[in-house]
Amino acid sequence: MTDRRLAAIHASDVQVSVELETPEMTLNLGPQHPSTHGVLRLVAKVDGEVIQSVEPVIGYMHRGYEKLAEVRTYPQITALVNRIDWVSGFANEIPFMVAVERLMGVEPPPRAQYIRLILTEMARISSHLVFLSSYPLELGAATPLMHALRERERVLDLIEGVTGGRFHPNFNRIGGVKPAAGAGSTQKKVSQDLPAGFLADTRKAMDACDSICDDMVDLVLGNEIFVERTRGVGIIPSARALDFGVSGPNLRGSGVHFDLRKTDDYLPYASFEFDIPTGSNGDCFDRYFVRMEEIRQAARIVRQAIDGLPGGDLQAKVPRIIKVPKGEIYVRAENPKGEMGYYVVSEGGRGPYRLKIRSASFSNVSVLPWLLEGQLVPDIIAILGSLDFVLGDVDR
């Protein structure tokens, strides 16, 4: 064999061994990383820029609400469930209240139901505005944050005006909503239960939310960098989404035309006109688009509710000490993050025997190991952010 040929073999050997010996690297993201919206940790095995596998580590914020609920009374649990998904605290209360009311056979008065519905939709708007503004920031655009959070503050102010709390309203009562201070539970003067000017201010805020969506179309959806980073990235096929229990805007982004507000009757949504926006590809862009359209639809619902707000009581008659008859019930609701539900087992006492909390973000995040496999490292942030989860909702 000639020296030249030997040298060639040697060179090809070197090349092969270099290709084979690419070291697998472990990349640790979190638990304190700004893009994780709390304390989520991702342990990723990467080969160069390509992710081989991802293991999400959760539980840093596990507060044991299911155990705590077993030693609390039903009215006290309202304060707990507020804090599951704190970006939309009010919406968390609804399915729990409806579950307890149905076990007790109590029906809240129409006015209370409408106020619940208005505040739920406003919670949805404020939650989605956080996403609309923070997601571009994670991809490097700072302007939308300031822009959309201004309108969100306006919505939060209105919620605070009615309930007294920006994040944790604790406003629902079993059988209705909390009457205004000093008004008593059977107050008749409808002008006193909502703060003066609330309806007019809300109408203005809804118009502002519509226009912020218009602005976002130009500012974000028309931004070439944003489109390049989100189109075709992090695709969740609809069958995979269903399999993992991915719900809410993430599911609708994958093209599934499903909304619990249309199928379930936990609040009187049947008397309102609104559309269910859906995506077509199931990528990050679609999830952004769906949430933006949901703000418009929520504003539409709030306007109709203000127009049709019935008068009357805020609270049905319930015993002073709440005891819930024996039974088991599951009530689910379409929360901003997805399907939120409570499985309540009552043995007839003052607190539940067992409270199983189904939170949307838990299932939405559980799809991550599958979703991130084979993606590029820079896309981790784009995909994480697009799922719009809250760690309190993952860990409970």
Binding site: K67, E328, Y343, R350, K356, R358
Partner: protein, 190 residues
Amino acid sequence: MSVTVSPSEVAERFAGLVGATRHTADFGTAKVYVTPAQWVEAHRTLQPHLPFFSWLGAVDWSNERAVGEPPEEPVSERYEVLSRLAAVTSGAAVILSTDVPKDNPHLPTLIGVYGGANWHERETAEMFGIVFDGHPNTNHLYLPDGFEGHPLRKTFPLLSRDVKPWPGLVDVEGMPGETNTEAGDQETEA
């Protein structure tokens, strides 16, 4: 799209499909009772009809309780494992329920049928001590590594309560499972 379906019809239909002997639809919650032997096969049968895996959890039916109120009448000791499946073309949804004995709590995993069962089963395993046979990852999900005990079992005490009484006791009503102040025992109707 508003398709409202009657829970009792849903329960009856799916109970027929999986060959369950018992089904209920109290309070609008359709529930189908299967045996542990039927567990995986029942899910496989329902998967095409109810592709959305909502959640999986368990209830510890126990007479010995470290938390909550003591039982008024004895319950039969068991772990009840529940899984909630739903359709997305209508409001149809059902909870499958099976009873697992306490002395040997085993159940086959559902991962082969619903991928989403993975985390839910890990949570149920660490919280109740139920073993899901065939589950690929038995690490703790929420609890720290090396944590001993299964917190959602009724025999697991809530230690913070033992160390310090709940300050809400001075309020108008008593806490579940605690002897009450005189105010809490008066049950007045409003």
